[in-house]
Symmetry: C2
Subunit: 114 residues, 2 copies
């Protein structure tokens, strides 16, 4: 992976919620969507992915249901709740705030002319 995952830390749930804002999805698929969106530069580790789903469900941000596949591996689908949508907006706002602050703090210290 070309991204330091310790820098993604804390955004895992927000990233998952962003995917579920589009439409319901199951774990494996959500991760592949992330991989595609980042052109192969990032994907969640399975353990991270599933523990994040667990936390999101425990906190009421998502609900799950088993797919009715008649063939292939079973799939557990997740659907974002109203609480999840609200949480997503807050988390995204928090991210924007943190991003601006880090950018500011790293904006000096090199390369500045005048």
């Amino acid at each position: 992976m070309s991204v330091a995952s310790e820098l993604i830390r804390g955004n895992t749930e927000t990233i998952i919620l962003a995917q579920l804002m589009k439409h319901d999805g199951y774990g494996y698929m959500v991760n592949k969507a992330i991989l595609n969106m980042t052109e192969g530069r990032f994907e969640l580790k399975e353990a991270t992915l599933y523990t994040a789903f667990r936390r999101l469900e425990d906190s009421g941000c998502i609900v799950s249901y088993w797919g009715d596949e008649t063939t292939g591996a079973r799939r557990k689908y997740y659907s974002i709740t109203d609480l999840g949508r609200e949480s997503y907006r807050l988390r995204k706002k928090d991210w924007k705030t943190a991003e601006a602050i880090i950018d500011k703090l790293l904006s000096e210290g090199e390369g500045e002319s005048i």
Copy 2:
């Protein structure tokens, strides 16, 4: 603090290095500089600050020396090394990469027209 610190996580050392890129500094002062730069929105917890200094020194990114104050509390100054400067550039680049990826992953899911 108006910033979710779990989102800053992983950037602590980089933020400290950014301060030391400007000039030598001691812990308390570095933290106040961060507080000022963010207009009071963010500062490191003391335990976080000092453990980060410890790690940076252990890895050779900074060196320390005691100030020669004749009054007031003693101050431990830190100076960034060449290794630290190089490390800072890499960390900053890693941050920019992670930032772009998170922004991309959170760019959809709400508010898009068309």
